[in-house]
Subunit: 245 residues, 2 copies
């Protein structure tokens, strides 16, 4: 009986940035998830040929980096473009005809914060995920043989359902490749399985839907849960997300 | 059309102690939930006639308070009674024949910590809940006309499913009396509805089941999800939980 047992790497789901420090981030691949809308927009811009995306914490840094790089500056607060920046956070603003070969400097509320936290805590690799690039994320994680943290950006440090749903979608597809001993992951997977066949109806019951629908962003949100519509792999290298697909 | 609209109080679910500070605790009734096993044991001891329960943070304080009050000291770590204390955290240790008219001084890992945090953050009232006293909790919350925080103790600040299930059970019964705009609550309710008819099988899939089953505590856990087996209302007054039922 000298069979070699392959130990599978671990997988954990971090439900909000506020609990990130409870997890072993070092040497892990962290998937930043901000379904409405940062990581959906990032996948889209890179799929449409953006050269790179620089995620920044504040409008001030966004303006400064825009100047330095000659890039497109983007950011919204309360559904409006932030004064001093040029574009918003909607994936629809970044078709190939506009964004190809450009650098996008973007500031978002929740996703960017989590990305920087993961880097500070020593993540081995940071990628971003949302439904438009689900399969790319899944295929990447399956082949890396490294511990995975699915990092939900949430809303102002609170739990939200749409990011957890995406974590569940990933787990459902990669669970056989990982050791999962994590209630957050079990819950995410169950939540996804329970709702995957009615996502467009289901998301209309969520707090974030109501918040963004008040700004007329229903179409954006429906796009953000559309699977594999922007198959890119945003991977963080040298200060920016590039398409590793 | 001079109809008076009654504004319903809010309800939020706090998934782990680590996110408690994101919520408005002041003037709220906080329900401390630690299904495996602190708040199940507390409901049981009070139902069985304990005079009061003093929840403390550490074994040292437990011993000291035991001396001061002449109470029964209790606490476990890793499934064993903590040296210097007399009893453990199992509800089965507190039948009426033993605990009636006694003071119980108990130290637990997660629930006690959350209770003290809620008090420090200015909770209007703190009660404890678990399946053995579900209906008592539900009936109480329905009549108070105050904002409610369902506080899950989790495990070492991480999310766990069993506490969230109980939050979901409460929400399912009181949702019509509250304004709920909280993804954590929506998720908890859905998780409960999805699993309520198979709780004994479902809990065997959870991380905490495996942790406690390693100490032979399966029966304890099955008791902790049994509904209304210890109908008391542990309510915090003057430094201790007393039976407000």
């Amino acid at each position: 009986m000298s069979e070699i047992q392959q130990v599978k790497p671990s997988l954990h789901t971090v439900l909000t940035p506020q609990v990130l420090d409870l997890y072993e981030i070092k040497n892990s691949i962290v998937v930043i998830i901000d379904v409405f809308r940062a990581t959906s927009t990032m996948a889209t811009a890179l799929f449409n040929g953006a050269k790179k995306i620089i995620p920044v914490d504040s409008p001030e840094v966004c303006m400064e980096m825009g100047k330095q790089t000659g890039g497109v500056t983007a950011g919204e607060r309360d559904g409006k473009i932030i004064p001093g920046l040029s574009y918003g956070n909607s994936p629809s603003e970044y078709p190939r005809s506009f964004i190809e070969n450009k650098t996008l400097v973007i500031t978002t509320t929740n996703g960017t914060k989590l990305l920087h936290m993961a880097l500070r805590q020593g993540a081995k690799e940071v990628i971003t995920g949302s439904f438009p690039n689900l399969t790319k994320v899944v295929e990447y994680l399956k082949t890396q043989n490294a511990p995975v943290i699915l990092g939900c950006s949430g809303w102002k440090n609170k739990f939200n359902i749409e990011d957890t749903l995406f974590a569940g979608a990933v787990i459902e597809q990669i669970k056989d490749h990982f050791t999962i001993h994590c209630d957050s992951s079990y819950m995410a997977q169950q939540l996804y399985l329970q709702n995957k066949d009615r996502l467009p109806e289901y998301i209309k019951t969520l707090t974030h839907w109501h918040r963004l629908a008040a700004f007329g962003l229903e179409e954006d949100m429906l796009y953000c849960i559309s699977q594999d519509t922007a198959p890119s792999l945003p991977i963080f290298k040298d200060g920016a997300l590039v398409n590793g697909a």
